[in-house]
């Protein structure tokens, strides 16, 4: 078997790193800056833009299929973190559209057409999902197998850094959105 020991100096270094990380995480010390405020504003803007764009797109989809919005919820998705939790978020939305009958694979083409009508570049990704993109926004709709419904999710990949002291405020979307 290969050796696995390590010298006492290296081991000590690991222990010290552990202590430093632990204390840093415990105290949450990290310098603040005006940049953080700008990032937080960016996150709020991203949220507003996502909600506005997706509402318009889903209005077109629900009218065209037709379908009914069963629920929607906003998410602050962790995209950056440290040992104590999230320090950066990207905003996204997900939810469900109910239909009269279960969609088949063939129905995805029609759905892609509706997304195109809504101003998205749309493509059928596989036998379950249609993806639409508009600038940096992506909207995906996946059909369920045995239920008359599509699950949808949408948002941008842009990640906004939020200071550790403010990150907890974004653990959930405390001002729930309702699309459509």
């Amino acid at each position: 078997m290969m050796g696995r020991g390590s010298g006492p100096v290296v081991r000590l270094a690991v222990v010290l790193v552990g202590v430093i990380l632990g204390v840093v995480a415990m105290t949450g010390c990290r310098p603040g800056s005006g940049e953080e405020e700008a990032q937080e504003q960016g996150l709020r803007d991203s949220r507003d833009q996502t909600v506005t764009e997706l509402t318009a797109a889903l209005d077109t989809v629900t009218a065209g299929l037709p379908a009914q919005l069963r629920f929607s919820q906003g998410n602050y998705d962790t995209c950056r973190s440290d040992l104590r939790g999230a320090t950066g978020y990207a905003y996204s939305v997900n939810g469900r559209l109910d239909l009269a009958v279960a969609p088949t694979r063939a129905d995805l083409t029609r759905l892609a057409g509706l997304l195109t009508q809504a101003g998205f570049e749309a493509e059928v990704v596989d036998e379950a999902t249609v993806r639409g993109t508009k600038d940096d926004l992506t909207l995906r709709l996946s059909r369920l197998d045995q239920e008359p419904a599509y699950l949808f999710s949408g948002g941008t990949d842009e990640c906004f850094g939020i200071g550790r002291d403010r990150a907890g405020d974004y653990s959930v979307d405390k001002d729930p959105i309702q699309l459509g």
Binding site: L83, S92, R140, L144, Q146
Partner: protein, 603 residues
């Protein structure tokens, strides 16, 4: 219009039901916690308030004086418990009635459309069409009559449920009523608790629990939540209810001390721990399931805010651990203590939502398990040693045994260890007999000294997985063997499980910010005085992003948790290779980074 055909009148409407069952449940929980608090008072007066060495006439007088207080407290506790139970039942009944009303209203809508159609057909009706319209109108009348009966029945059930609630309140409205009904009545929790197996195997505990009546189970949850809250073998629903009873009671008691200014430093720490658990539960329940839109279920599976010298012990689930087809247990590492449960609950919530979205036909529950004394704060230096992992591995094995024993139908069980938590998991899988279907190590510095290769792990062949971001400095600590041993000279906690010789199955887990600047650096701009710049995109983020949505890592873990473990089901990654003539090489460092959607169904 033809007046020979009698068209039915519009059917009656089911009145609006202005009720929030969840609010009633919250009220019921408060009552149960109050019952537990008062029960504690009764126990205190009856037992610990008695001072053994104090004898004589003064002691006798004192005990005589306080005896009625204990007697009354026990009666009051039982009274509150009865109201709690009724309120809980009332909430369930209201849930069912709200759902039933939705159904009745749908049927009413259809009937109205039917009637409207009949009226339209009756205009300009030809003689030969009359019999068909009469027959249809008769059918519609029958449907309307049935609907009217159902609405009347529904209304009777609403009133009956409200009446039962009122009666329960009115029976215990005064102290006299309470004493008359419950004074001297033995607590139904006492006898079954006396039969509880002490230090028994989870299977024995389960047999004992299953042998109790529903009333006895509920009595124990109210009267002695601490006795079963963390007891392996008891179903998760009961542990969750019991622990939340303790949690609500504790927060109320410590907040009172805080308000009075008499809280101790220890108690302040315990209060902070308890509030963290409370917030994690509330955050989880404020979200809905991505497939059904129903509020997420969350169970407080472990609760001990004073454990480990005040670091605390806690486990919070997303999803129902008793019934989900897939169950995962996530073990975190360095810096983890009870106040970290919020971030850890978010991680397993992301795993839950990804698993549900990717495979909507399967039910899943994910558990954030802070059940061991992880290196944290001032004792973080223990991260360089395996003592905490060895002890934690034993506790983890107990939890896995408990989850298995408390269910009839075996869940597809996955254990996931991150960072030092993977070392803990490693000890659980090497030092104990466990029964897991899958094991996953992410960001692992090694699985401990007892795990030389995958054969040492108690995991089915081919079901041990590794996720390692090539830029993760902690995952780089594991021993690579041979000459160079790795960048950290093998200073980690055993063999690097991502190495080819270890024998695990590696999946892609690259971080989207791979290759970014380090955590802090000196601004090199010419003419600018040396300034230390902090960057958000930091090297530590390379170690903590494994649960982030829309990442390779979360996508692959969700596939494993839901049992999709074939080679074609995963984004496979090449292993770290350590040639004898040179240092280790990680081929993933040059691989393209993918951004799979973890909110999209996998066909």
């Amino acid at each position: 219009m033809n007046d020979r055909v009698v068209i039915p009148a519009n059917p009656p409407e089911a009145p609006e039901l202005d009720v929030e069952p969840e609010t009633i449940r919250g009220f019921a929980r408060s009552l149960r916690s109050a019952s537990a608090q008062i029960d504690d008072l009764g126990t205190f007066v009856g037992g610990s308030a008695r001072i053994g060495d104090w004898q004589g006439s003064d002691a006798a007088a004192y005990h005589q004086d306080i005896a009625p207080i204990g007697h009354r407290a026990d009666a009051m506790s039982l009274a509150l418990r009865s109201v709690h139970q009724q309120a809980d039942d009332h909430a369930d009944e209201m849930d069912a009635l709200v759902e039933e009303r939705t159904d009745l209203e749908q049927r009413r809508g259809h009937a109205m459309q039917w009637i409207s159609g009949l009226w339209q057909r009756s205009r300009d009706l030809g003689e030969d069409e009359v019999p068909a319209l009469e027959a249809d109108a008769a059918r519609c009348q029958t449907a309307c009559d049935t609907l009217a009966d159902d609405v009347a029945g529904w209304l009777r059930r609403v009133r009956a449920s409200e009446r039962r609630m009122l009666q329960t309140f009115s029976r215990v409205a005064t102290v006299e009523q309470v004493e008359k009904k419950y004074g001297g009545v033995p607590d139904p929790a006492d006898e079954p608790l006396s039969r509880m197996p002490r230090g028994g195997m989870p299977e024995e505990v389960r047999a004992w629990w299953d042998g109790l009546t529903r009333d006895e189970q509920l009595a124990i949850i109210s009267a002695s939540p601490g006795s079963i809250g963390n007891l392996d073998g008891v179903p998760a629903w009961a542990r969750g209810e019991a622990n939340e009873t303790s949690l609500t009671r504790d927060v109320a008691a410590w907040e009172m001390l805080e308000f009075n200014g008499s809280i101790t430093d220890d108690e302040r720490g315990w209060l902070e721990n308890a509030r963290s658990a409370q917030d994690a539960l509330a955050d989880t329940r404020s979200r809905v399931d991505p497939v059904t839109g129903e509020p997420l279920v969350s169970q407080l599976y472990l609760y001990d805010p004073a454990a480990f010298d005040g670091d605390g012990r806690v486990a919070v689930s997303v999803g129902d651990l008793d019934s989900a087809q897939n169950v995962s247990v996530s073990v975190p590492g360095l810096t983890t203590e009870m106040t970290s449960i919020g971030g850890n609950a978010t991680n397993v919530r992301d795993l839950y939502e990804a698993s549900r979205s990717m495979h909507p036909d399967q039910t899943t529950a994910t558990l954030a398990w802070i059940g061991y004394d992880a290196p944290s704060g001032l004792d973080s230096g223990r991260v360089g040693f395996e003592g905490a992992a060895t002890e934690g591995g034993s506790r983890l094995a107990d939890t896995l045994d408990g989850l298995r024993a408390s269910r009839d139908d075996p869940a597809h069980l996955t254990v996931i260890g991150h960072s030092y938590g993977s070392t803990t998991m490693g000890h659980g899988l090497t030092d104990h007999d466990v029964d897991v279907d899958e094991a996953v190590a992410i960001g692992s510095p090694g699985l401990g000294a007892n795990a030389a290769d995958v054969g040492d792990l108690d995991v089915p062949d081919g079901h041990f997985f590794v996720g390692r971001n090539s830029d993760d400095p902690v995952a780089d600590l594991g021993d690579k063997g041979w000459v160079n041993k790795g960048d950290a000279l093998g200073a980690g906690l055993g063999r690097d499980p991502a190495e080819d010789d270890f024998g695990g199955r590696r999946f892609q887990a690259e971080d989207v910010a791979r290759g970014g600047p380090p955590d802090w650096w000196v601004d090199p701009t010419p003419g600018v005085p040396d300034t230390i710049v902090w960057e958000h995109s930091n090297s530590l983020d390379m170690h903590t992003g494994y649960y982030d949505p829309d990442t390779e890592s979360l996508w692959n873990m969700s596939q494993v948790v839901t049992g999709h473990t074939g080679d074609e089901d995963l984004m496979r990654a090449d292993h770290v290779h350590d040639p004898w003539y040179d240092g280790p090489r990680d081929p993933e460092a040059d691989a393209d980074i993918e951004r799979p959607s973890t909110r999209q169904r996998v066909p």
